[in-house]
């Protein structure tokens, strides 16, 4: 067992045990913080498929996070007002989480297919700028679209249902989120070892050789981008459910930057990187934010130091560089 495996095992145990301990001690607030960290980690696990496995530096993942959020917001809004989503079809809203997740992931994947098909025509710094620009397009669209609250956003009064679970109890909702996160981690790990994942890694490192054996590197990257977006969309739906609120901020490019920051702080391309990164981010936000409202200055300095001096992120620092990729 390598050191990274031990670290991964410790992270999974902490995901299960620490919030449970907080719950038993009656620290509901910490359970909610843990839920926030787990949702953000899920968004990071999504991005890590594109970024870590596919080498795609996407600064537009807020699009998928926001689409997931609005999928939840719109469906739940129509369910709580008993109005149809599409009037002519009489299509009703829903407050059933699995159904909302499915819609969120599907629409995020659809958006990724369109954005990816356009932006994968380019590479490198063009790709970064184009994903950033499309993110901004969705942000402005959400701001100027009055049907679902425009810049005020949309409030949902009751958290959505999951069969057999009382989602209004923090620890039970955390259980749902943590289960989804663990499944996503399993999927991400399986994906990396699958023939597709190996081909994708090769397409990241030497696209010419992948093309030479008859695979299309662009198509591999597009599939990775779409899968990555679907997971981030799912995270967006859960994030909206956690806050019972969606607003255009979810589409803001700062959100894209932050999701990327989780992945990097933890360690890009590492299975548990996004989880460690999201936990550290939420802890810093809580602890530093309690000291000063200008905590982001300190956070910026920390991020700068990690980028300049701790390549491989925190997992890289702990577990060494055996799995670091070029």
């Amino acid at each position: 067992m390598s050191r990274e495996h031990l670290v991964n095992l410790a992270v999974v145990l902490a995901l299960v045990l620490l919030p449970l301990a907080a719950h038993l001690m009656g620290e509901t607030y910490w359970v909610t913080l843990a839920t926030r960290a787990a949702v953000l980690a899920l968004a990071g696990v999504g991005l890590n498929i594109a970024l870590g496995q596919g080498g795609l530096v996407s600064l537009g993942h807020a699009v998928f996070f926001g689409i997931g959020g609005y999928a939840m917001g719109i469906l739940a809004y129509h369910a709580q007002t008993y109005t149809p989503v599409i009037e002519s079809l009489g299509l009703p809203g829903t407050n059933l989480m699995p159904l909302i997740w499915l819609v969120a992931a599907m629409f995020a994947a659809l958006a990724a297919l369109m954005i990816g098909a356009l932006s994968l025509r380019t590479s490198g710094v063009y790709f970064i700028m184009i994903t950033l620009a499309f993110g901004q397009m969705f942000y402005f669209f959400a701001l100027s679209w009055p049907t679902y609250g425009g810049e005020d956003g949309l409030s949902i009064y009751v958290r959505n249902r999951f069969p057999g679970v009382n989602t209004l109890v923090p620890i039970q909702f955390y259980g749902v989120v943590a289960a989804v996160l663990l499944l996503a981690l399993l999927l991400s790990d399986r994906l990396a070892r699958s023939p597709f994942g190996l081909a994708l890694a090769a397409a990241r490192q030497v696209p010419a050789r992948v093309a030479a054996v008859g695979l299309d590197p662009q198509r591999l990257k597009l599939v990775a981008f779409v899968l990555s977006a679907a997971l981030t969309g799912l995270a967006g739906a859960l994030f909206a459910d956690l806050n019972r609120f969606v607003s255009p901020t979810m589409f803001s490019w700062h959100t894209s930057g932050e999701i990327m920051v989780f992945v990097i702080i933890g360690g890009v391309g590492r299975l548990m990187g996004p989880v460690v990164g999201a936990v550290v981010f939420v802890l810093l936000e809580h602890l530093l934010g309690g000291i000063s409202e200008y905590w982001q200055i300190a956070f910026g300095v920390l991020l700068l130091l990690i980028v300049l001096f701790a390549r491989g992120g925190l997992i890289g620092l702990i577990a060494g560089r055996e799995k670091a990729h070029g």
């Binding site: 932006s119 063009y126 982001q296 200055i297 700068l304």
Partner: protein, 307 residues
């Protein structure tokens, strides 16, 4: 009914917006073209210029001093940041550059909020430049905006002459083509890089101050402009000053004219209320649709040679 006067006014507004975008995009595209660096913190330098100008104008009452302060503050900040941090990023991949400059944005934005507070500042247009001026065709147009267009065009011309005709321009183009060879010829590459970064920073700071006089000066003001400048560069082709100029005018005109005429055009096919709403949504997306279309046609932009 659209009149000629309204159309002319909106075209001028689009030009004004476009030349200011050019000031941002020129620095970004030079920095990318020569140093291969993607700098997200360019918008922070724009913001810094605007805040420096507002602070100096409030203290001295002189707009000219305010502009000089904006140039100086942004250029000095550019040099400091380049020497302390950016320099370490030239050999890194784009991901590291994105993250480090994202961190710089957090530091600049929150630092400015800490120093100046969350409320917007205001920078007044100097009295000699305020008020409208009558143009041929009976168009009354704000003199200050006209001056912005003129200043932007002059700077664009100056930059083009500098790149194509002067010794420093030759060095910049040499650095863009072959860094090692340029260094081997005895040119101090690291000073050249600092100089280019400072030049880009100064242009961004100047744009921030000039635009700050017609909008409010506030934290985060640089970021929407930064992203539009990226759209400009993607359209124009990375590294090309002429591409940046053409792209900036295209984006400025599309954004301004789209915002005014799309809702009007939609009124012809649907009721006024939904025309206004749908038109506003479409107009906010117009430049990105333009970018997408140009990408399908030319993936490396209008003037771009390489990906």
């Amino acid at each position: 009914m659209m009149s000629f006067v309204l159309l002319a006014e909106q075209v001028l507004n689009g030009l004004q917006f476009g030349v200011m975008l050019f000031l941002m995009a020129a620095g970004l595209t030079l920095i990318f073209g020569v140093m291969g660096l993607i700098n997200l913190a360019h918008g922070s330098l724009y913001m810094l210029g605007a805040f420096a100008a507002a602070a100096v104008a409030a203290a001295t009452g002189s707009f000219l001093l305010a502009l000089l302060a904006a140039l100086a503050a942004a250029a000095v900040a550019g040099v400091v940041v380049e020497v302390a941090i950016i320099r370490r990023l030239y050999d890194r991949d784009h991901l590291d550059q994105v993250l480090a400059t994202f961190a710089l944005i957090l530091i600049f934005s929150e630092g400015t909020r800490w120093a100046f507070g969350s409320f917007p500042l205001y920078l007044d247009i100097p009295s000699t430049l305020s008020g409208p001026v009558r143009l041929p065709g009976g168009i009354d147009y704000p003199l200050y905006r006209l001056v912005l267009i003129g200043a932007g065009l002059l700077i664009a011309l100056g930059l083009d002459l500098m790149i194509t005709r002067t010794r420093i321009g030759i060095r910049i183009r040499a650095g863009e083509n072959d860094r090692e060879m340029t260094a081997a010829l005895g040119i101090d590459i690291s000073r050249l890089y600092t100089l280019i970064f400072a030049l880009g920073a100064a242009l961004a700071g100047l744009a921030g101050a000039l635009v700050g006089a017609i909008q409010s000066v506030q934290v985060g003001m640089g970021e929407p402009v930064l992203i539009l400048a990226f759209v400009v560069i993607v359209i124009g082709g990375i590294g090309s000053i002429r591409g940046a100029f053409l792209g900036a005018l295209l984006v400025g005109l599309t954004d301004t004219l789209g915002g005014v005429f799309l809702p009007e055009a939609l009124k012809l096919v649907t009721d006024p209320a939904s025309a206004k709403a749908v038109g506003a949504s479409l107009a906010s997306m117009a430049i990105y649709i333009l970018m997408g279309a140009i990408l399908i046609w030319r993936p490396t932009g209008l003037f771009g040679g390489r990906a």
